[in-house]
Amino acid sequence: MLPAVPDLLEALKSRMAETIIPALPEDAVFAQEQAGLMLATLDWLIDVQADQYLYEVVENGDHLGLLDTLRGIAGDDEETGDAVGQPGPPADEVPVQAAHLVDLDDLRECNRRLKGLTGALYTRIGAHGGPDQVDRARHALAAVARRQERRERAFYRMTGFPVDAEDLGTVLRDQSPTT
């Protein structure tokens, strides 16, 4: 792959900073603001672009695990099991394991469906489950929320909003299902 993606992005960043932004009229305040944001976004892209696929793989593992856990919780009780539609979503809605996927866009869409399913199942347990089931579901979701928070803080670190964020690659290798 030549030029490599990081090289393409670095070139865009240089031209934006050295050529385009200085040429903008002084009174074009809206354009200046957008150009500054584009420059900052290029820095962000350079920081995270290499980790996109692993990010989605880790997400897939987390939310597949959560779906399994929530199904187990819902299935403990016949009434709740019925309410959440046991034995679970139709097979064609259940994402396949990340290792079987090769296309990043497919994997991302797969994860979005998966998050929708876990969200719907969690909500139904909250509405129909007993106190113990609701509590167990909450703890399972909280564990996934904490892991996702750590990933997101690393992903967003170049925006400058998260404080003391880690490097994304480090977090993903730590959370990867293969490590």
């Binding site: 603001e33 944001l37 959560l66 998050k115 929708g116 909450r138 996702q148 803080r153 909003f161």
Partner: protein, 392 residues
């Protein structure tokens, strides 16, 4: 009725049944959803094609006598409104004004009439732009819009390099000392104001000693999340559940700004004087702790030279709350502050990780790069919210 329309109607019925909110805001969210199904009616590309011509037509229709419009320039930012400064000439009189147009691709759905009425209601309480004209007719600007006076001032000191939309502005010791007293004074005046008879018919009035106000706000933001999210988020599920389980009744229904923080007021840098409190799009009637907790979010503040955290980059927490209680005569309840911190994170994340990225992806805004960029603040807020909701 087509099958698609039937499906949409079913969805609307379900959303209305699940998420009760204020009447006008329900209509607003419904119109957002309907517009998506009928993209031909949405102003494509965003950004008025000819703001001067649109202004001339509207002002000629709204004012007596000949009018002339000049010096039109688009203002920075504009997460909820597209804003244009312009000069109106009527006979020998010239006046600098601001047009604010509700953008179809706004980062949160807000209502021009509510903003206009609230600005009318707070005249005399604190310096703000004075509302001049309102139109709900989209034929002029493509969406409801209003005109207010232009107030000179800056939202950030010249030495500061603020992030997008004035987030995280810092002021330095001299300006802090000058601006902090007025900042808390205006907040206290707003919350303690007697607003009976203020002409706020675009607002549903919640009952005191009930959870009406927070019920309606949660309904609004939960529905916005449901309509706009690109994907579900575990922290949003946990926050929504926690907020529903812990709703406190409101003891006194106050006028609320909804976005009261550094970056949302203008000031004269030399004199160190607040010239206007701006950005009233998120105003509503409810619990004062909602505004207070928002102002106090760590995401807006900064630390001073001694490492002390400053609320909104202006004053330490004890001073902010102490002065607020002294000036307003209203008490501050720490439990409700905690509750409304979570509430504020919730709605902020709806906007930052839900509505903003939705519109950026749909290409319905020229602020797409900014919306994507400030999703980073959403990521920060998710962490802050987890610390509150998952603390037990």
């Amino acid at each position: 009725m087509s099958a698609v329309t039937d499906g949409l109607q079913d969805r609307l019925d379900s959303l209305r049944a699940t998420y009760a909110c204020e009447r006008r805001l329900e209509e607003l969210l419904t119109s957002k959803l309907l517009d998506r199904e009928s993209t031909a009616t949405v102003r494509a590309g965003v950004g008025l094609p000819d703001p001067q011509a649109s202004l001339e037509q509207f002002l000629a229709d709204s004012l007596d006598g000949p009018v002339a419009v000049g010096g039109v320039s688009r203002l920075r930012g504009g997460g909820a409104n597209e804003a244009y400064a312009f000069t109106l000439t009527r006979g020998p009189e010239t006046e600098r004004l601001v047009l604010r147009v509700k953008t179809p691709g706004a980062i949160c759905a807000t209502d021009a009439t509510r903003e206009f009425q609230m600005l009318q209601a707070v005249q005399g309480l604190m310096p703000t732009p004075r509302p001049v004209l309102l139109t709900e007719d989209p034929s002029y600007f493509g969406a409801p819009a209003f005109i207010s006076t232009f107030v000179p001032g800056t939202s950030a000191p010249t030495f500061d390099v603020p992030k997008a939309t004035g987030l995280g502005v810092t002021y330095g010791p001299r300006l802090r000392k000058a601006l902090a007293p007025a900042f808390v004074q205006h907040c206290a005046a707003l919350h303690s104001a007697d607003w009976s008879g203020a002409g706020l018919d675009a607002f549903d009035v919640p009952r005191s000693e009930t959870t009406d106000a927070i019920d309606w706000r949660l309904g609004f933001w939960e529905r916005a999340w449901e309509q706009d999210k690109l994907e579900e988020h575990p922290t949003m599920l946990l926050m929504s559940q926690w907020l529903r389980e812990n709703r406190p009744p409101v003891d006194r229904v106050s006028l609320l700004h909804g976005d009261y923080r550094n970056g949302n007021f203008l000031f004269d840098e030399e004199r160190g004087e607040i010239t206007a409190v701006i950005d009233w799009e998120l105003c509503y009637l409810g619990d004062r702790h909602s505004d207070l907790a928002y102002t106090m979010l760590p995401g807006w503040g900064s630390v001073d030279e001694n490492g002390t955290f400053l609320v909104a980059g202006l004053m330490d927490e004890a001073t902010f709350l102490g002065e607020y209680e002294r000036i307003s005569g209203l008490s501050v309840d720490r439990d409700r502050l905690h509750y409304y911190s979570v509430y504020n994170y919730y709605w902020a994340v709806v906007s930052l990780l839900g509505t903003g990225p939705f519109h950026a992806r749909a290409r319905t805004t020229q602020l797409d790069v900014m919306y994507n960029f400030i999703s980073g603040l959403g990521g920060r807020f998710v962490g802050d919210a987890n610390a509150l909701v998952l603390e037990d």
